[in-house]
Symmetry: C2
Subunit: 214 residues, 2 copies
């Protein structure tokens, strides 16, 4: 049975899932890189971007779980890029170069239509203007029996949580202060939405928690 | 040099420092006990309440640091008790029985004057109606060279953080969802207030972070 998952989503001590002032220079916002220290040294993460080596162990296990058995991804517009408003042209092709680390259809939520964008390595970006339910329906069709992963950002995850559609959410709490940005939990009553802590464990760099819907 | 400290202050995954609906039955609010699982089994915590045994190790070290070198405490009214508004009489003497675990003068912030309340074991509760600066001045006088600890709750800690008066703040992030309650970080830009992460480490039950003011 295909599940809708969030994995390796990292939150700062003060509750922000990304830094403020996202830009081409700071895809994760100011301070966003530091937030992901637990992840960026792992073997899985390095391999996703064509590297080798890297750390194994608990953090790497969560990174590897994150990319296992995926048939489609859903991303918010800001996670796809820094362009806002209507697409001026087709020149922006994501943060990830010619061969993005998705290798599946990726459904990008946007208010502005754009033709599908096939990339190397099996990734095709589809631009969905019909909202979160439409994106999920198209992702389910593409994924078949495999799972669908929501990459982020905060606003997209919050929308799917509020709709009770996420089956499993792995969060990593990082010992970093951002001071501002997009707050993941503000005003969300997750227990009331049916979520509870199914797993928790710690590595030296993060508190890992897996939430599931009961 | 006497410092103003917060220690062993525990925050849920979703950013709450206490559960909702505090009452006589739930001094820490609904779910508040579960939040402190890392602490309540430690040797230091058990000894504070006259018990013996308990776990040693990292969590216990943070618990022990929390009570070392203290000359005074500051508490918010709600941390002292569930009574709201003017004191109806002197019958409420804190949550902790005849011998509270403070063993120093304790300055309780309140809008309602009340005579000092001496207890067994060296604790005297003083009721301060002059606000956070007045309470700190009186605590400094009482503490001498020793440190002053703010016990909580969230609102008192936030007021002292916003005033830039806290020198060291030890937080424990707990893998628990509360869903609501008092949010410690909401709207506080701690880096802008001069705070940064001086130490971080993890135990199986918590992500420990020490913030200091730079």
């Amino acid at each position: 049975m295909s599940r809708l998952r969030v994995n390796t989503f990292t939150v700062s001590l003060d509750g922000y899932g990304a830094g403020a002032e996202q830009s081409r220079e700071n895809p994760l916002g100011v301070g966003g890189e530091e937030l992901h220290e637990w992840l960026i040294g792992t073997r899985t993460f390095l391999r996703m971007f064509g590297g080798s080596g890297g750390a194994t162990g608990l953090d790497d296990e969560f990174a590897a779980r994150g990319i296992a058995n995926l048939g489609a991804w859903i991303l918010g517009r800001n996670m796809f890029g820094p362009v806002r408003g209507p697409w001026p042209d087709d020149s922006w092709r994501g943060w990830w170069g010619n061969s993005p680390p998705y290798h599946t259809p990726v459904f990008v939520l946007t208010h502005h239509a754009r033709d599908p964008l096939p990339m190397a390595g099996g990734t095709t970006f589809h631009f969905v203007t019909g909202g979160i339910h439409d994106a999920l329906e198209r992702a389910r069709e593409a994924a078949g029996d495999r799972d669908i992963r929501i990459g982020g950002g905060v606003s997209v995850i919050r929308q799917y949580l509020e709709a009770g559609l996420i089956d499993e959410l792995h969060l990593a709490l990082s010992p970093v202060l951002l001071g501002g940005g997009e707050a993941l939990f503000a005003g969300l009553d997750l227990p009331a939405l049916g979520y509870s802590v199914a797993e928790h464990t710690t590595s030296p760099l993060a508190l890992h928690v897996v939430l599931t819907r009961t």
